[in-house]
Subunit: 307 residues, 2 copies
């Protein structure tokens, strides 16, 4: 089963840019992807707004305007309409405020019929909860979001077993494995990643892009799945986030990558039958995994030094 | 805490090469490592013999001569003696036959005082149990060994939290994470890896070395630990195994690598204090892991496609 998939990287979205303007950019990228033959498009994490967790606000509710209370909504409906017209499935991230008043960093997978077939709420929130002066910039995801309550699920969309992860999730092999155990063939990941580690002057863009790519390639290889990781990147409100969007094959090789830091489409023809070989041989989980020795992974959250 | 560690790669060991000759080669490498200032030396998996799982024998007991019934024994005692004299700790792999008649692919960590401070029995045995004609070569680890019963433990040796993995274990993030949850600072890995995938003519040495390095670098980065992976390699009984021994830092970067396919020592000064930064920030497990969403990792062995 072959399908051309597209990563639609988005350049920085400034604080005062309205959703409608962002959605127009998303639609232009979808048109480009369609022209390249793509049938599924992956957009970044938090596609509709600036990455506001870099800003501290004492009253969290003052940031509720960054959140969507329904999806689709007036601003995003044109994107859903275009996708249905082009018969394209897609996934993108946004900030979700539920009717119960809960805040999540969310992504959805949408079928070519325009139906939301899977929702995922980010599990591994990086950063911190309170203002921390020693950091070169703030990263307050733990302040503005709850850890996701969905876990890592998959859906069969357009014939492919798809699952989602968001940004920091890609560094956690647990996320990949839970998807792998469900037979995932395409892991879609959106991210907004600052080019500088806010606690280490030494760790700049080169090292951070390496960590990003290392994690995505290892996750894809070790679960024999395609993976598409797509950035919101470049300068945003005076802060730089790295680009480096990639499409990775089930052997862990990058088969497409962006070249710039702005709005940009990359495509690759994915032969999803290629996922089977690894799943049946070196990563035949039933034959090789030994869960009796993995107990700490679920029984123990933090590190315990006992020696 | 800084220490120079050495990887002691070993070229092929032919079928009729006696243990004593191999131990002499190991001792020569230990002397070289000592001259380079190393205080800990990592040798490969199954260091004492040829990689016999490439051979099929109907009566498994006919291969018991590849196994050690005690350790140290007459053949390896000179290595233990030399290490004690040089005040060097070390680890190496061998095939273990227990008093109960059980067969394991084992490695041990030995203190500079010559004491075996940790034993590990390989968990993730690759390959198959019966002769399979469609393979380009046999890989009968599942025939000759039981899956290890030790699990992944750590020991504090020479001030460093050390843990072991063997060969195929390095591809399994579960192994790394169980060690990481115990605060590991140095993961030692020996391997014997054929340069050709025996079920895929397409997958030759380049791809296989990439998978090896990808797995070790990701495991080190995602657990903020040093890792040293050491090959037995080159031509062995007419079969080629890749070299590519590496020392990897807690950022997932290769900081030393072998250049040839024979007996060769590599060293790197490891600053084990560098493990702390990752463990306290991006991989602060207590702050970021969400075990409530990892249930499948321990509850489910094989892949289940439910969509």
């Amino acid at each position: 089963m072959k399908m051309i998939v597209a990563g639609a990287q988005i350049g920085g979205i400034q604080k005062d840019e309205p959703r409608e303007a962002v959605v127009s950019r998303m639609m232009a990228l979808m048109e480009q992807a369609h022209q390249k033959g793509a049938e599924f498009v992956i957009y970044p994490e938090m596609t509709l707004t600036t990455f506001f967790p870099r800003f501290y606000v004492e009253d969290r509710a003052a940031f509720d305007h960054w959140f969507e209370t329904q999806m689709p909504n007036a601003a995003t409906q044109p994107l859903f309409d275009l996708a249905r017209r082009l018969e394209i499935g897609f996934t993108f991230g946004y900030c979700e405020l539920t009717p119960e008043g809960l805040h999540y960093n969310t992504s959805i997978t949408v079928s070519p019929e325009g139906e939301i077939v899977l929702k995922y709420r980010k599990t591994h929130l990086p950063g911190h909860t309170e203002y921390e002066a020693e950091r070169s910039h703030q990263h307050l995801e733990k302040r503005y979001f709850l850890p996701g309550d969905t876990g890592f699920n998959v859906v069969r969309n357009q014939g492919v077993v798809m699952g989602m992860a968001i940004c920091n999730d890609r560094r956690w092999p647990e996320a990949w494995r839970v998807l792998g155990l469900q037979g995932v063939e395409l892991v879609t990941i959106g991210y907004n990643t600052p080019s500088q580690n806010n606690l280490s002057a030494e760790e700049g863009i080169e090292r951070r892009v390496y960590h990003h790519e290392l994690s995505v390639c290892a996750g894809a290889y070790q679960n024999s799945t395609y993976a598409v990781a797509v950035a919101k990147c470049g300068m945003e409100d005076g802060n730089h986030m790295f680009a480096g969007s990639i499409i990775v094959d089930p052997d862990g090789y990058v088969i497409a990558r962006t070249t710039g830091e702005g709005d940009e489409v990359i495509v690759a023809e994915c032969d999803f039958d290629k996922c089977a070989f690894g799943k049946q041989t070196v990563f035949n989980f039933a034959a090789h995994r030994r869960t009796e020795h993995y107990g700490r992974i679920t029984a123990q959250t933090g590190m315990k030094i006992e020696v």
